[in-house]
Symmetry: D2
Subunit: 342 residues, 4 copies
């Protein structure tokens, strides 16, 4: 069994603790947090797991093979680097780090050390995202026409990051996960607003141009009184609607769309008609995605292979986020991804 | 009674015909369309209303006091001008014309002639929009924080205009209608895509900055297999969700949001908490908005006053659309409204 | 063309008028109502259709080949009989009459005279009901296991009938329409309540035992503030959910259920597991059912054949209703259908 | 702290374990199940809680002050009696026992021994049920007019009981909890069906007459592919809809209904009109009801008082269930509650 320590007992840490305990291949040894009472409270009074307030103590423990880090984003770089230097495999919350350059250093470090570096892009481990990826890669939707994601709810205003860095990593990761291998984001614009004067954007709109010419769009918002988590993936043959808040119908595959005329001239004359076909709601298993994250982390360590959402996918997500942040800071100018990654 | 002629028996014309016939103050005399069979078919075999294929014939009829025009946008300028010159009051479909400059000429012409020029911004006559306007103007939502509209469905690709000119006029008109008098759009960016190669944008995202600093956003899309018509109006005190496809709950007023710290420094430290209050779904009458449009048109003629959505509101909507079209044509650059209107 | 008169300009009559006017094979000649102003108001000021307050005048008009009757249920027997005696084909609103015995007389009279007698079981002409019938008859759902209908909303308390006679005819007609030919209702119980002291049941629950042993159940209610119109048809292989208020998904076919053990002993030990398969939402045309009613009425007259919902189906529905009324009057005792029909 | 043992590690037991561990006033000492591996698996590898396969061992432990029993219904009587005889307070899953007579013995035994006997009617501890009770008792809905509950989903066919004993206890308990003190069930009819030949009803409809003349109705079903958990409580002034599967709107209070004429004669002439008022969705805390059950159990022990859902409420629920079972066995005859309880 792989000895594991969880670092960070705040908002997401308890979920890591719970799922780690339910993963047979993992042996949870420590929960580490600067606030010892918080860590004890997460474990509860009946636990045999140890508590520490000092991550150095944990990194020094030879029974710890791997760490799972759920601390504020600004601490990721130092903690991940220290863990890798101590020879530990690392699972880190999104975003990997706060800059592409820092992230690239960590990926290199992990590679040199032969350690697993995994980014917890939880949504990529949902049965819905896996099914979408499968459908796209099998050509079931035809060519990708548009991607539109809305991820809004009443959110806690983060002390260190705006809504873009808080929520859009999910969408950038989903996009990275489901796109065909030859299609990549090439440019980004982002618009945002801070109507409450918090010093950071609480509402943001992100446009991402893909190498295929397709426009992807993401709406993230901390101020919405209703919660929406819907991704629409339009294809030339079928369109997928992923409503993550509809447990009995998370995915719906619409066999409908606009029929194109074969002749380009006819297209321009808009001789285009509807096709109203059936809708298929595929049966999907109901399971917690984070359990699959943990299982893949453990298997990657055991098998010496990259996990599904490895450091490289974390880096690709960072490239989009950093471009978006630059666009936001420059009034919505278009920023090329290449300018970030090279 | 006011003698009326409807010009255009295409997609929207039949709705004008039906509602005109149900308006006591109007006497529908003519339905005019280049395609006589289409006009006859709209009236049906039991009607006493006359059919014509020639709008000059109608404009020459002294029994006709007013015309309602539902023809393609490119024809609006000539038809409205001719009608005004013939001394007829005019109700015209959105958009008023295809350019701000042309629209301004029509508004001037109507003013000079002392005739009513009304733009059919139907959604502004829905009980929902009227209630929203009332709530905002009474201070019930506090300060406006954000405005987000999604108007998507499988739409007929128009031969003459893209999705922006087809659908966004609704949102620009709603925004114009509900905003406090001292808040106006000042700049616009628009991004769009034409994934089917139709020669016009079928998916578009519009950002509108208001003079108060607030960001309004509109998503219009002809390729979505699901129909969504939702406007969210976020306020510092309450937030309104208008879902026009939910007949039993079109408006929901959320008494919840993010509580601001009074002290600016605290705001920047994000010492901000939730408020989860009740939701109120106000009782709204169920009635067809177009009936109210017709009634207001008739009353404006009779009373010699401007209708709720007069030529000036049509012009303000045109300014936003023209700025959006320019931005779309220039890769999403920010376009100032002032550059359009002056 | 078939000359038609509509009798009754109350709640449902306007729908008959509108759909008759849109049916090419019909020529609407009269609208008849005791209240002339109401009849004129239904037709509107632009109509060429004649108005009468005297049904004898209409029955005497040789240009009238057929009548469509939408008057209170207590008047059906006399009006239909008079129309048949005058040699007119008849379309009559549900219920056919107020008693099985009276209904049987009308069916006989129509048969003797060689005239079409059709009962307006509108829901049987919806694309949804037709699809359900097709699926059941093709064996797609396996054996019928249960039928459950909820038809509730804030309804106008009728002066002459309780909620059972007002709403349950729809369900009895749907059941009659979709059942395999060899399965028929055999017994009924009904429970009801009159919490407002109106003198008639405003809430009622109807259980119908079928000859196959299956239990069908219907909940009708005039006091519900929310409107529900949902029929669930459970089968051994698939289950159909018909939600008539969900335009984008009226029918959903669930390929899921409880897997039976083949061995009866195992069944009794409840060794039964789940099957969670896909859900299919078939594309259905959106059209007004009453238009199809009118078209079938016209075609039945022209072709000299029975319409889909003829007098016999009206009679079968009456048998269920009359049994239900007796059960209601006797505290919910079980009433055999045979006791009504023989 | 109160020493607790949980008996039964099957379907519901894990929820008792989890919530007991989260209740500060309780100290979970044992989890007991005939299947030791199952018990260990429920606790997981990191727990300090002890496991036993022998309930006598647990009842003999003086550190155990109370037991929570989640075993099959047929075992309740013996286990609860043994626990009471051993001087332990008892929380037992619904139904209290399998017969009213047995239940009455347990209630007496607890009373004699001065021990808390609580029945886990979980739904009575939801914020929704508590709010409903509060609204009814404060007169906010006026007089109760009807109660309708639908509790259906694809359910595991139970080896020992039909759907009525499995699901209807929830509704009987909710009804018991929310009714004004002077209104009680007086008679019951139940109809059911076993379309799969499992030897027990899988679909059942229960009508419950209340002492006020009101009809309550419950639909329970194990064969429905869609899950519905909706209770509608109609009042003369307002109507409450509780949809337990709609997290953002579990309760909706409709200020609408049918306006009654004051004069009884007018009522009988059905001079009754609509009132379409606002809908209020009250803010409710989101918390697990079972946590509140545990807290009330602990507080009842500490304070020497009856819990909210004590043995007497368990008995009242049993009276309804036993009457329903008799009715089901006798073809739906009406069974008086008094015949059960006296």
């Amino acid at each position: 069994m792989i000895g594991l320590a969880v670092i960070g007992a705040g908002y997401w840490g308890p979920n890591l603790v719970r799922n780690a305990q339910a993963t047979p291949a993992l042996h949870l040894r420590w929960l580490c947090d600067l606030n010892e009472a918080r860590a004890r409270s997460v474990l509860g009074p009946y636990s045999t797991v140890q508590v520490s307030t000092c991550y150095e103590q944990i990194l020094a423990d030879p029974a710890v093979d791997a760490v799972a880090i759920a601390t504020p984003a600004v601490t990721h770089f130092d903690l991940v680097r220290a863990a890798l230097e101590a020879g530990k495999h690392v699972l880190v919350e999104k975003p990997l780090t706060c800059s592409y350059a820092d992230g690239a250093k960590l990926v290199q470090a992990a590679q040199r050390a032969g350690l697993v570096l995994m980014c917890d892009h939880t949504f990529c481990y949902t049965p819905a995202a896996m099914k979408i990826r499968e459908l796209i890669h099998a050509g079931e939707i035809g060519e990708l026409c548009f991607f539109d994601s809305v991820r809004i709810n009443l959110g806690l205003i983060q002390p260190d990051v705006g809504v873009l860095w808080d929520l859009a990593p999910h969408d950038a990761a989903i996009l990275d996960f489901i796109l065909p291998a030859d299609v990549r984001p090439v440019a980004v614009t982002a618009h945002g607003a801070d109507p409450l004067g918090t010093g950071r954007a609480c509402v943001a709109y992100l446009s991402v141009w893909l190498s295929s010419g397709v426009l992807a769009h993401v709406h993230v918002n901390w101020l919405s009184p209703t919660k929406i988590r819907t991704v629409v993936i339009g294809g030339s043959r079928r369109t997928i609607v992923w409503n993550d808040l509809k447990p009995d119908q998370r995915l719906a595959i619409y066999d409908r769309g606009v029929d194109q005329a074969a002749d380009p001239d006819e297209r321009r004359q808009a001789l285009i008609s509807y096709r109203l076909g059936d809708v298929l709601v595929p049966a999907l298993p109901e399971r917690e995605a984070l359990g699959a994250v943990m299982a893949d982390f453990a298997a990657a360590i055991t098998d010496g292979r990259a996990p599904q959402t490895d450091g490289h996918s974390g880096l690709r997500v960072l490239a989009v986020l950093e471009a978006a942040a630059r666009s936001l800071a420059h009034g919505g100018t278009r920023i090329d991804i290449e300018g970030i990654t090279s």
